[in-house]
Amino acid sequence: MSSFSSSPTSHWPRRLAVLLVCATFPLIWVGGLVTTTDAGMAVSDWPTTRGYNMFLLPIGEWLGSGWKLFIEHSHRLFGALVGMITLLLAAAIWRWDGRRWMRYLALVAVAAVIFQGVLGGLRVIEDERLLAMVHGCFGPLFFTLAAAIAAAASPWWRSAPGALRLADGRALTILAWLTAAIAYAQLVLGAQIRHVPLSAALGWFDVVVFFHVLNAGVLLAHVVWLWRRCRRTKLALVSAPSAWLVAILAGQIALGGATWVVHFGWPQFLQDRGLGAGYVVQAQSAVQAAVTTAHVALGSLILALSVLVALRVSRLAWVASNEPASQKATEDSRTTARRVAAAPAAPVRAMELAT
């Protein structure tokens, strides 16, 4: 509590930002589940639920009206919770974070969460495929924004220790942002597959699937490349998440294949070799829902992680290039400490410096 009231800087923005990230990720799962199980239209009114103020829907009706209503209403409540955390975070940042751009970022987050909520509501009222798709593509962006705020609110951000080891950060920065952009493109392509319109011309689906698979390969190449470049910096703060990125993407590609199989069965050429010939697709089974939703949610995680890496790399490169040349020669704890001291009121925890 002491840090809350007495110190001009506070851990609260960071704590709330991390809380926001932790709350948004499951929200994306629940949202994915809403689409996977076709629960989106189980409640046809909004912002009310079945005529009730959404916070006053009797518990019995929430839990006892079948899976679809349960999951859709839970998504609404969860979304409201995330909205409130975002408001608190914005307040905390305005109160304790002096950086102007950070304050604007907080405002953007508030606007984004409201936008996303309204989009979700309109999707229900209008029952419009396009809205559902935009809602699905915007969620990961918000999640990524939350992760970005958490990164910028961390003590590490202010000091960026080890920056000088990044001799030439430009190429790496470009690579990292490019990777993030490809990750997002992949997500948008995925949403096209998921929300393929019934009126789509034959061939539209084929094209989207083709590019989704192609882009998966491109993304994998990028992520592996990024990881190898990050490893060379010998900075765990960038090399660790980039390594995670490779691992999660590998899992994600396997999940993508699994998503296909649980919807359309095993491909014929494998069946000819005896694999999966007896497999029966189970519509809306728990396995189908879990695999599909996991594939959707991991996509968001990959985007957020790649943006995190890109942000950290950019920060390091920025710090490195804004240091006087003389200081670049030696990087020791003294320079670090000086920079820390120079940064406006940055409480650097020893633990973080040690990494």
């Binding site: 005896g274 010939a277 497999y279 697709v281 189970q282």
Partner: protein
Amino acid sequence: MNGRLANMIRRYVDGAGRGRRRAVLLLCAAMLLGCANSDVQFRTNRQGKRNNASNLPAQKQEKLVDGLVAAFGTPNEPFVWSGTALDGAKLRRAAGPVKDGSGLYREHCAHCHGVTGDGLGPTARFLNPYPRDFRHGTFKFTSTGQGMKPTRDDLRRTLQEGIAGTAMPSFKVALSEEEIADLVEYVIYLSMRGEVERDLYAAVDDDDEIGADRANEAAELIEPIKEAVEQVASQWNDAQEQVFNPPPRQRPDTPKDLALSIERGRALFLGAKGLDCTKCHGVTALGDGGNIDYTSTNPETDEVMKTTPDKAAELFALALRPAAPRNLRLNVFRGGRRPIDLYRRIAVGIKGTPMPGRQIVQEGDTPEAAEKKLTTEEIWNLVDYVLSLPYEPASRPQKLPTDHRAVN
């Protein structure tokens, strides 16, 4: 508004037939209805009754669509003449946009089978086999005799169990029994509509004098529609009573009897009595007999491939694939693995595929006639052999397991 229109039309249709004034009224209403729901519409069958890919001229096309709307309504407002014996309440729950109380078909089926039931949903091209085109009225896995429509129970079973090794899912988890019944009704509706459309296509195409009065033109179709609907509806209704059941069988009850039956089945499979199983399924039953055949549930595919293969791309929306004879050693039977299922597959064939049905010896057949046919016992021998195949090593087909049922 549209609901009321639809009701009005249905009343008129059921009472129509004679009064021309009524028919005109009806068609005006139908056209209003068709225009009001322009967002989701049935796609017209461009292939038509003949192998003639060119579109009908716009006026004829219009006439055809008007007639079909009058007979079947629209994807949002389906209705049927009472003679079809289809249940309108079920149809309305299955049709329409996805929301409480409607839209089952669009939620669960249309992305594969298409809104029209033409097997041209957005995902269709990727799937092998392709999703069924209901418009030809041919279904593979039925309990009815050769050339017959399936029973409602056959369709229900397909929806409930899915079709192993294909994209056709099992809806056991996703749908209740009532919902499955609604969808079965809707599949029949789409199938009837598709067949009537093909009949009307010919009638419209032959009409050389299309007048400017749209309602009048469409009214001319009332009679042909009624005829076509009655015909296809009677096929469906007959099928419900025509389940193909073999006479009760004395099952081989000792391992030795079973081995004997399998051995006889094997001989038949390999060509005794002139049977041609190996032509398609191969001597090893791995499905490698090498027979190339484009028969599908669309009656035109094979003929087009045999006569004018270069026209196929123009005529069919999906690239035709040769029908693959099944590898019988995988222990996967798409139409069900009960002996009775396999009996029906072998005796009746698999409709809409090259897999042929057999002639069965009847009482009173002359010995010469009987010679060319199979006895029910021989078909059971084949069933026993097919069921034993997964356990018979492909390289040494001589050695047969004695009791495959124990493993099953």
